[in-house]
C-alpha cells in the first residue's frame, strides 16, 4: 500500500477554492500514430457546481471523455489545475493525485464490473481498498452494501454473478459501486450508450431522480443531445478539445453562441447576416431585414454571422400575411415525421425549415407565407 503525504498548503491556488469541480486552463495533448500532436483538451476552464448534474456534450473525438478521465486521474493533463470540492487533485509540478486517492466514483461505458466477483463484492470493493486499519468493520460494510443495493432495487441480486444481470441491472450495479463510498462526485462515461432506446429512457429518468435525491455532483459524458437536455443542470458543449458553450439546457438551446452549437443541438435555421453594424435589433440578412428581440453578444461582433432560429418556432400558412419577419416562399419538400412535418421552404436563394402540424394542403410547389417570432431569433458567430 502506498503511503501518502498529506496536503501541503496549496499556495498555488490564488482564488478561494469552490465546492464542486473546478477546472482551470486544462490542456492534454496526445501524439497521434502519424506523429502529429493532437490537443484532446485545449485550454478548458470550467466550473461544475456542487450537487449539479453537469453534462459534457459533443461528437466523438471532441475531448469530452479525455476531460472526464483527467478528472478521474486516469489521464494526466499537461497543464492546468483541477480542484475537487476544494481539494486540489492536479497542479502541474506540485501534485498529481492518483485515481485511487481522488474523491470520485466512476461509471464506465462498459460498466467495467469485475466478472470474477459477485454483485455484492463488486459494490463492496471501494470500501475494502484503504489501509486495513482504516477500513470499516465487515458487518458495517455488508450493511452499507445492502443499503445501496436496496436503493438501486437490487436487494435480491447481491449473490448473483455479473453475467446473470441484464444491461440495465449492470448499469445500476455500476452506479452502486460508484456511490457506495459516499464520494461527492460521480463521473459517467456514456453509461447508457449500450442500452436499448426504450430502457435508456427509463434509466435516464431513474438516474436523474437518484442524483437529485442523493445530492452528488454528476459529471456525465454523452454525444446524445436529447439525453443531455433531459439530464443536465449544466451542459458544456465541446468541440476539438475546446468549450464551445457552457450553460443551462435552455441557454444552450435557445441562445446558442455560435453556429456549431446551434447546429449540434436541435434543428436550426441559419440565415446569413449580410451587413454589419446598424440597429442590432434589425439585421440585414440573405432573405431581407429580420427583427430580433434580443440579439445577444453575437450582434456586435465582427466577422461572418448568422441569425439562428429553431425550426419549430416558425409558422407556415397558405393565406397571405404581412408584417415583420414574414416572407413568402415555395415549398420544395415536405417530410412527415410523426409528431410534426418538416417543410422546406424556398425564400429567395435561402431554404428555411419549418416544423409544423401536418397539413395535406401544404404540398411541394405550393406558395406559402412563413415567419418567425423575433424572440426566437439570436445572432450567432460563424466561428467562435
Amino acid at each position: 500500500m502506498t503511503m501518502t503525504t498529506h496536503d501541503t498548503p496549496a499556495s498555488a491556488v490564488t482564488e478561494e477554492p469552490r465546492n464542486g469541480v473546478d477546472i482551470v486552463g486544462l490542456r492534454k495533448r496526445f501524439r497521434a500514430p502519424d506523429g502529429t500532436i493532437v490537443a484532446a483538451v485545449d485550454d478548458v476552464t470550467l466550473h461544475m457546481p456542487k450537487g449539479d448534474f453537469c453534462v459534457l456534450l459533443g461528437p466523438s473525438g471532441c475531448g469530452k471523455t479525455t476531460l472526464l478521465r483527467c478528472l478521474a486521474g486516469l489521464e494526466h493533463p499537461d497543464e492546468g489545475r483541477i480542484t475537487i470540492d476544494g481539494q486540489p487533485v492536479f497542479e502541474p509540478g506540485l501534485r498529481t493525485v492518483e485515481p485511487q486517492d481522488r474523491p470520485v466514483g466512476m461509471v464506465f461505458q462498459s460498466y467495467a464490473l469485475w466478472p470474477n466477483m459477485t454483485v455484492a463484492d463488486n459494490v463492496a470493493f471501494p470500501l475494502t481498498t484503504g489501509p486495513r486499519k482504516d477500513r470499516m468493520p465487515k458487518e458495517q460494510i455488508r450493511a452499507r452494501v445492502d443499503e445501496v443495493l436496496k436503493i438501486m432495487g437490487l436487494s435480491s441480486h447481491g449473490t448473483r454473478a455479473i453475467g446473470q444481470l441484464s444491461g440495465g441491472q449492470q448499469q445500476r450495479v455500476a452506479l452502486a459501486r460508484a456511490i457506495v463510498a459516499g464520494t461527492d462526485v460521480v463521473l459517467f462515461d456514456e453509461p447508457l450508450s449500450n442500452i436499448d432506446a426504450k430502457v435508456r429512457e427509463i434509466l435516464r429518468r431513474e438516474l436523474r431522480a437518484m442524483q437529485q435525491d442523493l445530492g452528488f455532483t454528476a459529471v456525465y459524458v454523452t454525444h446524445d443531445q436529447a439525453e443531455a437536455m433531459e439530464l443536465a443542470d449544466q451542459i458544456t458543449v465541446m468541440r476539438s478539445g475546446k468549450v464551445m458553450q457552457n450553460g443551462s439546457a435552455r441557454d444552450i438551446y435557445e441562445r446558442p453562441r455560435n453556429r456549431y452549437v446551434a447546429e449540434f443541438i436541435g434543428t436550426a435555421n441559419l440565415i446569413p447576416v449580410t451587413s454589419a453594424g446598424g440597429d442590432s435589433h434589425q439585421v440585414a440578412t440573405a432573405i431581407g431585414p429580420m427583427r430580433i428581440a434580443d440579439p445577444g453578444p453575437g450582434a456586435s461582433a465582427d466577422g461572418s454571422r448568422f441569425v439562428a432560429s429553431r425550426a419549430h418556432r416558425w409558422w407556415i400558412d397558405t393565406a397571405e400575411r404581412s408584417g415583420e419577419n414574414v416572407w413568402s416562399g415555395e415549398i420544395t419538400n415536405a417530410v412527415f415525421a410523426g409528431s410534426y412535418t418538416e417543410y422546406v421552404v424556398r425564400v429567395g436563394e435561402t431554404s428555411v425549415r419549418v416544423w409544423a402540424d401536418d397539413d395535406p394542403e401544404l404540398a411541394p410547389g405550393r406558395k406559402v407565407w412563413v415567419g418567425v417570432d423575433p424572440a426566437a431569433c439570436v445572432v450567432v458567430l460563424d466561428h467562435d
Partner: protein, 579 residues
C-alpha cells in the same frame, strides 16, 4: 427502483476518501521492475557471454568450424530434412486444415486434437515408437507386413519398411512438424471473412477460381507464419534426429551441437557455439524475409464477425478425407503409443508377441533404478518450479507492459521473446557457458536447470499471459483504481483472477513441457541432477528398449492426462514451442 430514495447515512471517515497526493514509485512497481531486470539479465548475460565473450575471442576457430566439411555436411542434412519434412508437413497441414475448417468432412474433436499432437505424444516418445514399428528386422509393422506378404507368396527376411533411412527420417519429421503448419493455416482459414469468398462467388467466380484468386492469396500471411514456424522448429528439432538420424548414419546440425558438448571432455564449446550461430542465422533470416513479405502485401484482415462459411460438400470424397485425418492421428499417436505399450510389457523387444509372457516387470524395474527414479522426482520438482515461476513472472511482466506503454516495457517484452528465436539447444549452451563455470559453478545443480527452463519457456508463458491480459479491457483496472485500489490490490484482486483461466492452462502445459524437456537437459543435466529427458537418452544409447518403452509410456500418459484436464477446464492449450 424503489420509490423510497434516500441519501445514505453518513459514511464513516474511512470510506470517504480524501484527496491525497500519492508517492510516485510504489512497492509493486519496485518488485515488478526488479523482476523485469532480473529476467533481462538472465537472457542478455548468458547469450552475450557465450556469443561475444566466448566466441568473439576465437574468431579463427569459429571460421574453422563453420567451413569444416563436417559442419557443412550436418548443415546440408538439416536443410534437406527440414525442406523435405517441413514441405511434406506444410502440405499435410494445409490439407488437414482445409478439411477440418471448410468441408463437411470436419470432425470437431479432431480439429481440437490435431494441433495438440506434440503435447499428447512428445516427439521423443513418438520417434522411439516409430523405431519399434518400422525397424527393418524387429519392427512390428514390418513383421506383420511380412506375414501378409507371405500369404501371397512373397518371402522377405527384413523390411519392407526401414525407418533408419532418409525417407524414414523425413517421414517422422513431417509427422511431428505437421501440427505447427496446421495451427497457422487453420487459424488463418477461420479468421478469413467468408464474405470475401461469397463476394467472389456472387461476382461469377467458380469454386476453383475462388480458391486461387481469393482464398489462397488472402491466406498468404497464415502460410508465411506456417513456413516460419516450420523453419524455426524444424531446425531446432533434436529428439527426432537423435533417435532416428543417428542410427541411420544421418547426422543433423542440432544433434552435432549437443554431441559437441556431451560427447567431448572437456566440452567443445567453440564448435557447439559456432554451429549455434548457424541456427540463429537461419531463424533471423527466415523471420526477416517473412516480415518483408508481410509488409509488402495487402491482405484481408480478420473479419471478426465469427461468421462461418458454408461448408464445402465433399460428396464421395468425404470418407477418404476423414480417413486421411484419422490416418494422421493414428500415425502420430495411436500406432507409436501401442508399440511403446507392447514393448514396455515385454521382457525384451521382439515382434513375436507372446501374450502369456507380458508383465509389468519393466515398470517395477524402472522404479527400482535410482537414477531413473531421481530423474523422475527431479523432473517433477523442476516442472513444478519452472511452471510456477515462469507463469507468475510472465503475468507480472504482461501487466507491467499493459499498464504503461513505455519504451522500457516494450524493451522487456522484446527481450523475453528472444529465447523463442534461438531454440532450447542454444539457450542451453549459453547457460552452460555462462553459469556452469566460475564464478557461478552451477554445473550439475538443479538451479542451473531451473533458470535455463525458465528462460526457455518464458516466451511461451508470456504468450499465454499477454493473450489473457489483452482480453481484459483497460476499464477493469481503471474501475479498480477509481474505487481506491492500489497496485497490489488491483493486480491480486482484479487482474490476476481475470487472467486465471488462461494462466492455469498455460501453467499445466509448461509443467509437461518442462517435465519432458530434452534439448537443453541433454547438455545441462549431470550425474548430480538427473532428469527424465536425459534418462530417456541414456536408455536409448544403452539400447535398454523395454525400460525405455515403459518410461516413454509413463511420459505420454502423464502428458495426455494433463492436456485433457486443461481442455476439460476450458483452457485452450497451444503447442507453439520448439519440441
Amino acid at each position: 427502483m424503489t420509490s423510497t430514495l434516500q441519501r445514505p447515512e453518513t459514511v464513516p471517515a474511512a470510506a470517504a476518501r480524501p484527496a491525497r497526493s500519492g508517492r510516485r514509485f510504489s512497492s509493486f512497481q519496485l518488485v515488478s521492475w526488479v523482476a523485469a531486470a532480473v529476467v533481462v539479465a538472465f537472457i542478455v548475460y548468458p547469450v552475450g557471454r557465450a556469443f561475444i565473450g566466448e566466441l568473439g575471442m576465437e574468431l579463427p576457430a569459429v571460421v574453422g568450424v563453420l567451413t569444416s566439411a563436417k559442419t557443412l555436411e550436418v548443415l546440408r542434412n538439416a536443410v534437406v530434412a527440414v525442406a523435405l519434412g517441413g514441405g511434406l508437413a506444410f502440405l499435410i497441414g494445409a490439407v488437414l486444415a482445409w478439411i477440418n475448417v471448410r468441408t463437411d468432412a470436419r470432425m470437431g474433436w479432431a480439429a481440437e486434437a490435431l494441433p495438440l499432437m506434440p503435447l499428447f505424444v512428445p516427439a521423443i516418445a513418438g520417434s522411439i515408437g516409430w523405431v519399434f514399428l518400422a525397424t527393418p528386422e524387429a519392427g512390428f509393422l514390418n513383421h506383420w507386413l511380412r506375414k501378409l506378404l507371405g500369404l501371397v507368396g512373397v518371402h522377405l527376411e527384413t523390411g519392407p519398411l526401414d525407418i533408419f533411412t532418409w525417407p524414414g527420417l523425413v517421414f517422422v519429421y513431417a509427422l511431428y512438424l505437421t501440427p505447427y503448419a496446421y495451427l497457422a493455416i487453420s487459424s488463418g482459414l477461420q479468421s478469413l471473412d467468408p464474405a470475401l469468398e461469397e463476394a467472389a462467388r456472387v461476382s461469377g467466380c467458380g469454386p476453383v477460381k475462388t480458391l486461387f484468386r481469393v482464398t489462397l492469396p488472402n491466406l498468404k500471411p497464415a502460410m508465411g507464419a506456417a513456413v516460419l514456424q516450420l523453419i524455426t522448429i524444424g531446425f531446432a528439432l533434436f529428439s527426432v534426429p537423435v533417435v532416428i538420424g543417428t542410427s541411420a548414419q544421418i547426422q543433423v546440425l542440432p544433434v552435432s551441437i549437443v554431441q559437441a558438448v556431451t560427447r567431448k571432455y572437456p566440452p567443445d564449446l567453440i564448435t557447439a557455439l559456432s554451429m549455434s550461430l548457424i541456427l540463429i542465422t537461419i531463424v533471423v533470416v527466415a523471420w526477416s524475409v517473412e516480415r518483408r513479405i508481410m509488409a509488402k502485401g495487402r491482405f484481408a484482415r480478420i473479419g471478426g464477425r465469427g461468421a462461418r462459411a458454408a461448408l464445402v460438400s465433399l460428396g464421395r470424397w468425404k470418407l477418404p478425407a476423414r480417413l486421411l485425418v484419422l490416418g494422421y492421428l493414428g500415425a502420430t499417436s495411436v500406432l507409436p503409443f501401442l508399440a511403446l505399450l507392447l514393448v514396455s510389457f515385454q521382457g525384451f523387444w521382439t515382434p513375436q508377441v507372446d501374450f502369456g509372457t507380458l508383465s509389468v516387470d519393466n515398470y517395477v524395474d524402472l522404479w527400482g533404478r535410482l537414477a531413473v527414479r531421481r530423474g523422475i522426482t527431479n523432473s517433477l520438482l523442476l516442472a513444478l518450479l519452472t511452471a510456477t515461476i515462469t507463469t507468475l513472472l510472465a503475468a507480472l511482466l504482461a501487466y507491467l507492459s499493459y499498464r504503461r506503454r513505455s519504451f522500457l516495457g516494450r524493451l522487456v517484452d522484446g527481450v523475453i521473446k528472444v529465447p523463442a528465436a534461438i531454440s532450447h539447444i542454444v539457450v542451453g549452451i549459453a547457460f552452460l557457458v555462462a553459469f556452469a563455470g566460475p564464478p557461478f559453478r552451477w554445473n550439475g545443480t538443479l538451479l542451473l536447470l531451473v533458470s535455463t527452463y525458465v528462460v526457455i519457456f518464458l516466451p511461451q508463458a508470456s504468450f499465454y499471459a499477454n493473450s489473457a491480459i489483452q482480453q481484459i479491457g483497460p476499464e477493469m483496472r481503471e474501475a479498480a483504481e477509481v474505487s481506491g485500489a492500489r497496485d497490489w490490490r488491483v493486480f491480486l484482486r482484479v487482474i490476476l483472477p481475470l487472467m486465471a483461466p488462461s494462466l492455469v492452462a498455460g501453467w499445466s502445459l509448461l509443467f509437461i513441457l518442462s517435465a519432458g524437456e530434452i534439448n537443453a537437459s541433454a547438455m545441462l543435466a549431470g550425474p548430480g541432477s538427473p532428469v527424465v529427458g536425459q534418462a530417456i537418452l541414456d536408455l536409448w544409447t544403452a539400447g535398454t528398449f523395454p525400460l525405455l518403452a515403459s518410461l516413454s509410456v509413463v511420459i505420454t500418459v502423464v502428458s495426455t492426462a494433463v492436456v485433457l484436464t486443461v481442455l476439460a477446464l476450458g483452457g485452450r492449450p497451444n503447442s507453439g514451442s520448439a519440441p
